[in-house]
């Protein structure tokens, strides 16, 4: 890789939303490292820890169905924090941010729809190991561990 030495352009310019990379002078920008202030990293790490504690606390509080949604919500927030600060998405091009949150949205939609669906048909599910299924499984897959649920 060849490059002429020059001072790296300020980070803000990189995130400025220009249509073209070519507006910047040649050369790699040091995007990783000392540019994120240590305090920011420490604060983010603390936030992650606090969120983890909240998840655990919620787990011990019995609030039924909402548990899972709160836990998933916190997981999304944590993933976003990691991406934004540890992975420098916060200072990256806006397109990457759009893509990232677009994906989060799709994943949330997918999960939301599937969870809505499974909770709707849960009453149809046969409790315990459906005996007929167990028998077939024993035949088709002799090593399948179905015995324990047999009533």
């Amino acid at each position: 890789m060849s490059h002429e030495p020059h001072s790296p352009p300020p980070i803000e310019a990189a995130a400025g939303g220009h249509a073209h990379a070519a507006v910047h002078p040649a050369g790699d920008q040091p995007l990783v490292g000392h540019l994120v202030p240590m305090t920011t990293l420490v604060v983010t790490a603390c936030a992650l820890l606090v969120l983890t504690c909240i998840t655990v606390a919620v787990r011990y509080m019995d609030i039924g169905e909402f548990n899972i949604y709160i836990a998933l919500g916190i997981a999304v927030i944590k993933a976003s924090l990691v991406a934004l600060f540890f992975m420098h998405l916060r200072w990256d091009r806006p397109f990457n941010m759009i893509v990232f949150f677009g994906c989060v949205l799709f994943v949330v939609l997918m999960m939301g729809f599937c969870l809505m669906d499974t909770s709707q048909y849960r009453h149809e599910q046969i409790n315990g190991n459906p005996p007929l299924v167990a028998e077939t499984l024993l035949q088709n897959a002799p090593n399948a561990p179905v015995g324990r649920f047999d009533q």
Partner: protein, 370 residues
Amino acid sequence: MIQMINTLSTALLAAQDAVTPATFWMPEGASTVSADVDWAFMFVTWVSYFFFALIVGLMIVFVIRYRHRKGERFRTDGMTHHGPLEALWIIIPLLISIAIFFFGFKGYLDLAQPPKNTFDIEVVAKKWQWSFTYPNGAISTNMDGLFVPAGKPVRLIMRSYDVLHAFFVPNFRVKRDVVPGRRVALWFQCDFPTGEDASKAYNFFCAEYCGTGHSNMGGKVYVLGETEFAEWMAKQANWIEDIPDDQLYQIAGPKLYAQCSQCHTLDGSTGQGPSWKGIMDRISAGTGKFTNGQSYADIIGPGKVYETPEDYIRDSILNPGRYIVQTFTNVMPTFKGQMNERKIDAVIGLMKHLDQFDSKGKLLSGTAAK
């Protein structure tokens, strides 16, 4: 909105007093929901006719009118965009879509919500057979057909034994996948009896791909009048008990064999399972091998796994996976719960007296009734 559509479609649909006849698109419609589904189908179809004619018509006209010949200068007076026109063909399809959605939704509400007072039939699907258990304990399979009372909402409570299956009656416009591990319900109501005439009865199919026998996993739906149905159900529940003991295998044997005939032949040719021809001789000779290396002689006999050949056959019907005859694979489902002792006796009787039956399992004339 739903109210409006309700009134609209009630006005459009005259009360039904006969099955709707088959059309170019749809087969005869015989259930209480079929007319509604057909109406929605035809509505969408007419919308499709219109837009198809519009687009293809314009396309043909333009292609003829604006043909280009080599060397001519290009005309450039065509417009490149037109906001209101674009808006128009966003809004019109949108409105039509909303209307279609509501017609479909309304029909689906009927399909998805069974009325309160349904007549329930327990259905079990397995590779590649349906069995129907009626409230009085009567059982029929897809070989016999499904029998339902006319004029009553019927609910099928379905379970699957192995993989996904789907119960589909085209004439009733109903379909539902049977998911293993779940109890799923499907309901319909047919007001017009067909009687026990197979040519008038409706077809049902397995619509979810389930392997080898998928395309033959269907049968007939017979719709009977109320009293006829009650009689049929009573007869069906007790048919095996009503047969005198000395004729048990002769009468019940062929009927039961129909369930086995997909895999076990009587003429010696190989099917999914071993042929029954000479089965008792093979067992008494004791030489036939199993996949685990043992032979008949190793497991049948006093003090062995099975005291008698009959014990072995009984267990093969109830626990088919235990011993697999060599060169065959473990595909037979268990008949536990479907075959009582009397039925098993009848099957064993058939095996012992194969000379009295033809290769299709029909009793040869002259041997009937001693």
